[in-house]
Symmetry: C2
């Protein structure tokens, strides 16, 4: 089968489509004929050889496709349309996945739309609810509102709670889109001071919960934007990993709760439980079109270098999808 | 009445005993004839003018004494022996306190022993249980094991859970004492690498919970000592407030939960609830002599400068008490 790996750790030019042998489903697993995969920041970190937790030579962590084979202990019918997180190996014609975290694709979604769901929606769900404990009374600040996780988080917060949603993004187009998804306060971080705007929108109290995909470059500003006893979930480092001079007294005086998290390196058991909770509470809303996957652009697998470059340019609103066409 | 205030923000030499007017109990308050108060780090920070949350000109945040007057809406008998947190004003002959957070002093304790309870035991209780969620299966790393909060935390962890207790201190004498209170692993941070010893004691997993009174100087070492998904409660900055470089990716990879906290600036309501929970679960153990206040040294109120200097020399094991003798 064809699949994408990395020649040498480095830029998008290191990605290549190569012939691999088809994986075999081990106990508890299913084999999926992949129709679509999606590009994630974690794929770029892996491409650069910087993650330290990737063991699969084939890139990619989420797929949508059809079940074509199952292990003897698995009770899923061949032909079932499924989506979900894989432990690497998504940018390929075939991939294996633990059966207990395969989600059945709602009928109203194409494979490309389904591939836009797992990673960003599970991450946003985990961050908002499992780690962030978002409630109706909260104000949540969602950075990178136009990103895959951002667009997912805005929709989830809107549909599952009455929380006030503040988001930041770098263009009017992205902010308009965020507003259409349910964001209440939309801040252009290139033109406005987001801490000032957050304080304005919260009676000078600050946000109860921050979803931080930015990291170092926003450290001080997030500290200004968070309320006393606020929760701050660190889930990405688009703005760098290293903060110079962190004042611990500020963390103590504001009694900040800072939680670092990543989804990809977590255990199979955790991913299964998260998937199950998400399926129960969110898939029905997707079926009713109240929550929708947001696709920015679809690339062919062969154009994977272009797809990575597109993400690195930060211009996307929503997900970048790889379509895997059958050979021949 | 005589009481202690600060001439100008600065060192211990700025402390003076002066004549103040006796405070009056407002609604919901009691007036206490103070027999003993205790010295806390927060008093030193206030003396230096650095806390930003102190409004009472008289220093001190905890007292033990006798109720001599009550507001009309309070139902506590005069003559009752009580201890608890005050909103400043403890280093004095008389102090007022919200009645709903006065704890009745167990019969087996002197006033000096009682004054050694509120701040450090409530802080340790809050940190271990309300914020740290300590369970029987956890390993907890308690820094500054010989300090007031350290000796309280070791006893509370030992008596209320089956958790494994690791502590650090800077002398063999302090470590022996920690062991006698229930610490399982005692590390001399001046002679050993505490992250190495913590990893050794936890099968290379790291501690589930860290009580950090040290801050900046231990930042990297705490990060090495904590387990994946570990909880890290930042409650003091004896080792400085400013961390030169914080690597956020490390916080994400280890999925650290970092919570900053302080007790003194919290609301009256919070202190009342904490006191109530503590009274229910811990006072009976104090009555049975299973948990005991640890007194390092008792000073007369007039020797308050010496008392502060003694704390700043870091040689104490347990609490430093001020005894307030009647005038004349």
């Amino acid at each position: 089968m064809k699949a994408v790996n990395v020649k040498q750790p480095g830029g998008a030019e290191q990605l290549q489509v190569k012939e691999f042998s088809k994986p075999l489903p081990k106990q508890g697993e299913i084999l999926i004929k992949v129709n679509a995969a999606a590009v994630n920041r974690t794929d770029i970190v892996n491409r650069e050889g910087k993650s330290g937790y990737n063991t699969n030579p084939i890139l990619g962590i989420e797929v949508a496709g059809e079940v074509v084979d199952v292990a003897s202990d698995v009770n899923i019918e061949k032909g079932t349309r499924v989506m979900g997180l894989v432990n690497g190996g998504a940018y390929a014609e075939y991939a294996v996945m633990p059966a207990d975290r395969a989600m059945i694709i709602p009928d109203n979604l194409s494979f490309e739309e389904a591939a836009a769901i797992p990673e960003v929606f599970l991450t946003a769900y985990q961050t908002l609810f499992w780690l962030g404990g978002l409630t109706d009374e909260d104000t949540v600040l969602i950075h990178a509102g136009g990103s895959g996780v951002g667009t997912a988080a805005i929709q989830l917060a809107k549909q599952l709670t009455k929380a006030k949603i503040i988001t930041t993004a770098g263009s009017a187009e992205k902010l308009d889109y965020c507003r259409s998804l349910g964001a209440d306060v939309c801040i252009n971080y290139k033109e406005e001071s987001f801490p000032e705007e957050v304080l304005k929108a919260t009676n000078d109290q600050g946000a109860d919960l921050i979803l931080d995909f930015i990291g170092a470059s926003y450290w001080e500003k997030n500290l200004q934007s968070i309320c006393t006893d606020g929760r701050w979930i660190l889930i990405g480092v688009l703005g760098g990993t290293e903060v110079e001079k962190v004042n611990l007294m500020q963390l103590m005086l504001k009694r900040v709760q800072l939680k670092g998290t990543l989804l990809t390196p977590r255990s199979d058991e955790y991913k299964q439980q998260l998937t199950q909770d998400f399926s129960e509470h969110v898939l029905p809303l997707i079926q009713e079109n109240k929550i929708k996957p947001i696709i920015d652009k679809i690339f062919k697998l062969e154009d994977v270098q272009e797809a990575h470059k597109h993400m690195e340019e930060n211009k996307n609103i929503g997900k970048i999808i790889l379509r895997i066409d059958e050979e021949g």
